[in-house]
């Protein structure tokens, strides 16, 4: 049961993004749908997005959180570029997480650059939903 206080909180707005040229969108779409089914407002960019396009969409859509999925191996170039552009646009408060085929040593490096979490294959949708709820501050 939701009480009155909770009802004032708006749903979390999330951008699910597919940077890079690979077409593997199964994971991105499953996560987008799971977050939506969990009551969040989800905007999905579609495939083949450049970092510029992703940051642009994030700003336009006024999201609190970006989830990026990548399976092409270009994560060490494209994720940091998104982080850099967010900073450049004074939007570093947007929380960024990612997922895909990402080797462990790269996970550490990406977290050092400000990506808050990387979900690897085998993650359940519940874990992602829980993580977003816990880590994205509610908006009044």
């Amino acid at each position: 049961m939701t009480d009155k206080k909770e009802m004032k909180v708006s749903p979390i707005r999330v951008l699910i993004a597919k940077p890079g040229l690979d077409g593997h969108d199964r994971g991105a779409k499953v996560i987008a749908r799971a977050l939506r089914d969990a009551g969040m407002e989800v905007i999905y960019t579609g495939l083949h997005q450049t970092p510029e396009m992703i940051v642009q969409s994030a700003l336009q859509e006024d999201v609190q959180c970006i989830g990026m999925s990548i399976l092409s191996g270009a994560h060490m170039v494209l994720f940091p570029e998104v982080m850099r552009l967010l900073k450049e646009n004074d939007a570093s408060d947007i929380i960024v997480f990612g997922g895909g085929i990402i080797p462990k040593p790269d996970v550490v490096k990406l977290k050092d650059q400000g990506v808050q979490e990387i979900f690897l294959p085998g993650t359940s949708t519940r874990e992602v939903i829980e993580w977003v709820r816990t880590n994205v501050p509610a908006r009044e």
């Binding site: 890079g20 077409g23 593997h24 749908r33 083949h48 399976l71």
Partner: protein, 558 residues
Amino acid sequence: MAKDGKKQGTDLHQSSSFSEWERKFSSQEERKERFLSLSFREQPRVVTPEQVNGYSYSDRLGYPGEFPFTRGVHATMHRGRLWTMRQFAGFGSPEDTNRRFKYLLEHGQTGLSTAFDMPTLMGYDADHSKSRGEVGREGVSLSTIEDMDLLFSGIALDHVTVSMTINCTATVAMAMYFAVARRRGIPFDRLGGTIQNDMLKEFIAQKEWICPPEPSVKLSCDIVEYCAESAPRFNPISISGYHIREAGATAVQELAFTLADGVAYVEHCLERGMDIDSFAPRLSFFFDVHNDFFEEIAKFRAARRIWAYLMRDRFGAMTERSMKLRTHAQTAGVSLTAQQPVNNVARVALQALAAVLGGVQSLHTNSMDETLSLPTEEAVKVALRTQQIIAEETGVTNVVDPLGGSYYMEQLTDQIEAEALEYIAKIDGLGGMLKAVEVGFPQKEISEASYRFQLMVDDRDYAMVGVNKYQDEQEQEIPLLHIDYELERKQIETVKAFKAKRNAKEVNEHLDQLRKACSSGSNVMPVLIDAVDSGVTLGEVSDVYREVFGIYTDPGTI
């Protein structure tokens, strides 16, 4: 009755019918309420002759090598010749992949299969801004004819069959391959191999594209037409279910959408005025082989039967070869787990066994490390050895279609066939696959199935060993392949240097000719072979396609 006249085993009672047997044991408890296949199909406890009665052997099965080819496209199947062991490989520079090719050939692989990187698959040269971070990472980088030459350096193109997994830029890769052969003095009719060149499944599942569906299909069929005339040993298309399945389709959806794609290509070629028997024998297929052992075997058997009837009855093919569905298979990448990766060796072995029992002509076995990175040499070798163990040690190659006639297998084959035909009829009703793709029908079906499966895994209704059951505290570490980002810089330099030394006037003339060929609707292949030979790059050809045919972008529906 025994000799002394006494009844033997007087306690024995055999049920006189299946329904009696069912009643008799209906109260016996089972481990689960429902037994579902991987594709959500409820499985019976047992199948008896009563469920498969009225069966016509000649209509449904036939002998191996004979219509409707359910039992196999060859009379001797793997007794005559083993399947081609064809490991998909490609990463880094053309030189890197050339070394991996030679390594695989040295270890007994019998055909080559090329993976290209994302820029190549999307029509960008290595030096394009959209290629940053992607060069050589998920396959080999190919921008110029020199790249193609280096890729197959020291490999006799007239002695090995080569497969190339490339689609919206297939015309360019094919043209470069032909141009390299021409430079080496090899006539095109001595080239054997396969180019994937299946654009419909790109829109459905794999999603590497340049232009909208209609011109894309036209370009695919340009290759079909050109090869039928000039390179008759080359399979000009590999109609692929693999990516459809990996995107989350069920076995039936994979089968139905793939065959419906095949129907669309056939119809397009017939509209061009081609004779069905001039190209149909060279249409080849590519399916996934997933975890559900029997369902997968049945899928291959049903595929052959449906295609044979479609080709004979719907399209009026006359030669037997036009009716034979020949297929490559690859074990299911999506079934592999990042957790306890060594377990993947067992998964791959079982999937490969299903492919062999399903009667495939060619097989790729995935490596255990592929949920983590591109495979290392060692991991690829284990995957290749897995095929060799099946071929040499298990004895399953001794008998053709050993599961044929199993009540369960025949019932399952019939069910999968019936359900796939239902889908194909639905797609026909939408106006064919091209139209169905444009309205997003198969895409939507796959999304639904993929989400449903994910929820099953999340709810532990489907067990994944090491992921949602039998997890380990300690993570298993295995060595991974590392691709240096330095490679990208080198490739960019190579492409830039190549472009700088070309005859600009000649390049422009070739691009003009290509533009004209595209606008006039004529076959682009003859013009393209000369163009790439003179130095026109993959990105430049793709730019002409973008200009003339337009650009397709993802509708991005969830």
